[in-house]
Amino acid sequence: MSNIFPKWTNRLPLILLVGGLVAGACVVAGVTYYFTPKYTRVGYEPIQPVAFSHEIHSGQMGIDCRYCHNDVDKSWFSNIPSAETCMKCHTQVLADDPRLAPIRESFEKNKPIPWVQVHKVPDYVYFNHAVHVNRGVSCVSCHGKVNEMKVVQHSKPLSMAFCLDCHRNPHESVRPHDEVYNLDWEPPADWSFDREGVELVNKMNVRSSQNCSACHR
């Protein structure tokens, strides 16, 4: 008759404890990372049918966001420009560039270009572009510095926590009304969220709500 458990098994509790702690930490870290919008969207950078560079158009040439996304201040939806908009310039500039062939085709045949959507909130979220850009929230707050992107990239998580962060502290996100489309705007040196930010919020009567009804209906 012998002992069925070898001697090392007496260290089992310690091994289990340490192992369990390590495994638990890994699972928590994994879930936190892989199951949140940060992982699923941030950094998303699909290849678009036309290699349009915001860096050139918006950054270098300084075209205003609204030249192409002209409904952004009127609708919940920030429109993707049609080929017609592109062709306003590209009949003269790079008129025969092979890279623009899909645009020309779209323009001629009146067929839309299948752009790949980068930013998308779930369909039960009613985000409204117009009310944000008209009330001092800049594009950069949610989209990042698009004017520095060669290829558009998902740069903010756009999760509910992300939205709430701003809705709870609007004074940290609002900026003067005429700087909304200036993606490079930096608060002046004497700008303080608690002073100028709050002042702006009060002046505009900003009611950024953290109630469900603000975004879900």
């Binding site: 008759m1 012998s2 098994t9």
Partner: protein, 177 residues
């Protein structure tokens, strides 16, 4: 193969109780009584003081209650203060049931863990578990085991001490590594 302890077997609780008193009186420290069920009065006989499990239970329970209350305050009042049913954002009343349950839950874990920690269990490998005769400890036999590592242990004297009790059998337990 080294010697682990000397083991004496008894048939009734009264006999082992008497033996335990003797061993205790002899001043041994690393020794123990093994029985299929707890014997009433044995702690006194062995000169053991009160068990310390209660501290574990208390700290478990305290943690549970604190975690419960803090969690609910944080979630319903501090982090996202949604107005619900016109009731206060935080109140000890509605937070009580959950805190109460957590008190019990962690208290229970405390007790069990306390028992294991204080008993240095689990210890699956034990020289006694390899001993054939000792298998009856969970059935109907009673044992006094005096470890060789005890300061007062001296093979002959210890064996003599045990032989002086109502032991029906005395043997040396080996540690088989």
């Amino acid at each position: 193969m080294s010697k682990f302890a000397i083991m004496a077997e008894y048939e009734t609780p009264a006999e082992i109780m008497a033996a335990a008193k003797k061993v205790h009186a002899a001043g041994y420290q690393k020794w123990d009584v093994h029985s299929p069920f707890p014997i009433h009065g044995m702690d006194d006989a062995m000169g053991l003081d009160n068990a310390k499990v209660g501290y574990f239970t208390f700290f478990g329970g305290l943690t549970g209650f604190t975690v419960g209350m803090t969690m609910q305050w944080f979630m319903n009042k501090f982090d996202y203060d949604l107005v619900v049913g016109g009731k206060p954002l935080f109140s000890g009343f509605f937070a009580f049931p959950v805190s109460y349950e957590l008190t019990i839950l962690l208290g229970a874990f405390g007790s069990l863990i306390g028992m294991f920690v204080l008993n240095r269990l689990p210890r699956h490998h034990h020289p006694l578990l390899a001993n054939e005769r000792f298998a009856d400890v969970t059935d109907d036999k009673f044992y006094v085991v005096i470890e060789c590592e005890d300061d007062r242990y001296e093979e002959q004297a210890t064996r003599a001490l045990l032989e002086n009790t109502h032991a029906v059998h005395i043997e040396m337990v080996e540690d088989a590594q």
